[in-house]
Symmetry: C2
Amino acid sequence: MESYKIPKKSVERLSIYKRILKVIMDAGFTTVSSRELAERAGLNSAQVRKDLVYFGQFGTPGMGYQVSMLHRAITKIMGLHKKIPVALTGVGNLGQALLAYPGFKERGFIIEAIFDNDHEKVGKKKNGLKILDEKNISSEIKKKKVRVGIIATPPSAAQFAANKLIEGGIKGILNFAPIELKVPSGITVVNVALCEKLEMLSYYLSKRKLL
Amino acid sequence: MESYKIPKKSVERLSIYKRILKVIMDAGFTTVSSRELAERAGLNSAQVRKDLVYFGQFGTPGMGYQVSMLHRAITKIMGLHKKIPVALTGVGNLGQALLAYPGFKERGFIIEAIFDNDHEKVGKKKNGLKILDEKNISSEIKKKKVRVGIIATPPSAAQFAANKLIEGGIKGILNFAPIELKVPSGITVVNVALCEKLEMLSYYLSKRKLL
DNA sequence: CAGGATTTGTGAAATTTATCACAAGGAATA
DNA sequence: TATTCCTTGTGATAAATTTCACAAATCCTG
């Protein structure tokens, strides 16, 4: 039952379990049941157990899961136990917020290079990093052995940035631009659907005549 | 087939169709087929048709959909044809980025009030708005008839902000904080899972031994 | 206006995902 | 050690979602 075909949703929930485990661990508890994890995550307990079993047998019947052990196991499974060098493209408002976002560093994602296509910005410093020209993305990230790219450009510049990142050897992209990036197979793109979420909210409120 | 039970996924995709329709419209085309929409969105054409039929019959056999008509229809369905007053809580890096994010205004979401619990910040101005004390959220948003709240606080302050927003009569929350908000029934919460997405990317790369 | 080419809308089938329900394993108590 | 109480892991079942496949509707060409 190792890594045959794991639902994307299960992977996303793994991240949620990890976050909750941290809270439980900091509160001083040493074990936790699938029922409690489920309750805190707003899920069904069988689902929690099924999700975890995709990755191994972590529990003890009658007792539950060892909090710190499970937390460590998930961290390792997700590859969050080592530092990951990252490049950021687009140093606008969103890009700057991401640059300062503590969550990235906490998870081991270290932003090593930042790029923009605005010549007004190129050469200036942000958070101790010099803003580089987008034209040089591929050579710069090769030099710094960056493995992950974040796209925080406007939609019109996103595909160009993606191409340059891929040219530079990047295998994974976190995309904040609201477009469907075209990438060759072998490149993993994860989209953060900021606009879509906002519009969903509008839809649900509108349907209930609350707007 | 009107609004019986529409999958959440369909609603989210509606937003994607709207975005693509805009592109096609700006390129000067007047009609579009489900096949083309599907291709651009990376989906199956039957799915596009099924999604749209949840909301009405928009297409013409042999011809496809009228681009501008469909775009307008989706905008209306999603309640994005009128202005929506919004309150933002948490004027940190993320909050400031959201404040300056053009996508909000473009979609009719007008940020009318901003709050923070940091007394250093309260009273100062950002983007023409005075930062108000989080303690006064409920009275302020009642005054300004705000309908939607955005939470961009650190996780530790998120539940407090949510409570105050709800106290002030808000029905919808866009939550950027990585916690499961506890809200009474009748309140719609949409989470933007920033950290989760990042961690998913790490997982997929890690699995392929690319980190 | 007839015939061929498209493309929609939609039942039916396939696939995926979530929930139920319970046997089996282990802890805790006496 | 026997007994009771929990809780896991999991096969079976149910629900949700996606894809297939085609009749019916409309366009377009000659």
